[in-house]
Symmetry: C2
Subunit: 199 residues, 2 copies
């Protein structure tokens, strides 16, 4: 019997909406493969190649760009970051669901490359709350905070390109909703395994 293709779940949303926390929680609760990104930045102490990131040389990364090896990639200052296509496609082909946690720009590129991926926008409970979260992270200076706020407002508007929006007022509730979305997506008529009904 042919194995059924897994579902690609893309968690995205503005910085400060809490997508990272939600993703970590979800990974503890359900059987889904986290998509490991590739980067050209140097590993930090404790980071392991193939666990936090695939650490690549600049040349290798640029070759992979040439060969259409990324579902999405971006250059941030001097470093590249990207989602290796092969890792995601092999996971899905093996019948396992795969989750990507990326920024809204990346999510849109994944939509173009993988139209049957499920895009979930993680939204803060309010713009005020988002601003509080960004301001209270404490690690950035004022100009960096302003840039982040302006970027977050832009990113909120991309919500309408997604399939679902989950408002992150409580992490556990948000996680429950995402679990429900994954179950529902598997019941969609387009994805359903109905061969055994022998019509």
């Amino acid at each position: 019997m042919a194995s059924k293709e897994g579902i690609l779940i893309v968690l995205s949303g503005p910085s400060g909406a809490g997508k990272g926390t939600i993703c970590k929680s979800l990974l503890k609760e359900i059987d889904i493969q986290y998509s490991i990104s590739a980067t050209t930045r140097k590993p930090r102490p404790g980071e392991v190649d193939g666990r936090e990131y695939f650490f690549l040389t600049k040349e290798k990364f640029e070759n992979m760009i040439e060969e259409n090896g990324f579902l999405e990639w971006a250059r941030v200052y001097d470093n590249y970051y990207g989602t290796p296509r092969k890792f995601v496609e092999e996971t899905l082909s093996a019948g396992k669901d795969c989750i990507l946690e990326i920024d809204p720009q990346g999510a849109q590129k994944v939509r173009e490359n993988k139209p049957d991926g499920v895009l979930i926008f993680i939204a803060p409970p309010s713009m005020q709350e988002l601003e509080n979260r960004i301001t209270n992270r404490g690690t950035e200076d004022i100009s960096e905070i302003k840039k982040r706020l302006s970027c977050a407002r832009e990113e909120m508007l991309s919500m309408y390109n997604y399939d679902y929006v989950v408002i992150n007022d409580q992490v556990e509730k948000a996680v429950e909703k995402i679990k429900a979305i994954i179950i529902a997506e598997k019941c969609k008529i387009q994805r359903s395994k109905i061969d055994n009904l022998c019509l």
Copy 2:
């Protein structure tokens, strides 16, 4: 604050797939209004008007047909059966979800009248199992069973007009899936309450 419109859930599928059992289970577990059908047949002992059915005269029923008062209706031998539009629309407007359990012909009419309703097809685990269930009901004669089997095969093919298919191999599992579908539908970007984000 304006109340949010409820979601219309339409449970359908061939006779013998178990939609009635699933619907009863679901009603015990979640807060959803069962759509009460109207009929012109006489009440059976113990049946209460406005609980099992709205019991109408033939004249009243035909007037309501004229006035577009049904989301779907059908004549079965000498009696009419139908889904009163007003009851469903008032439930949804009050912000409450509403569930309809009807045959596939009725489900298609509801789709035309209420395109944002969510159509869920309850499928048997296999055609063999469906045939066993229809055959073992024990109340019908052979020609009635044959008619039901042929009709069920026809109805299985209508599956592709639905949003979701839930295979009823175990009632509890099927109920969990429908609960997930309802949660996911509420997260759909088209249905989401995002006014409070004050973009």
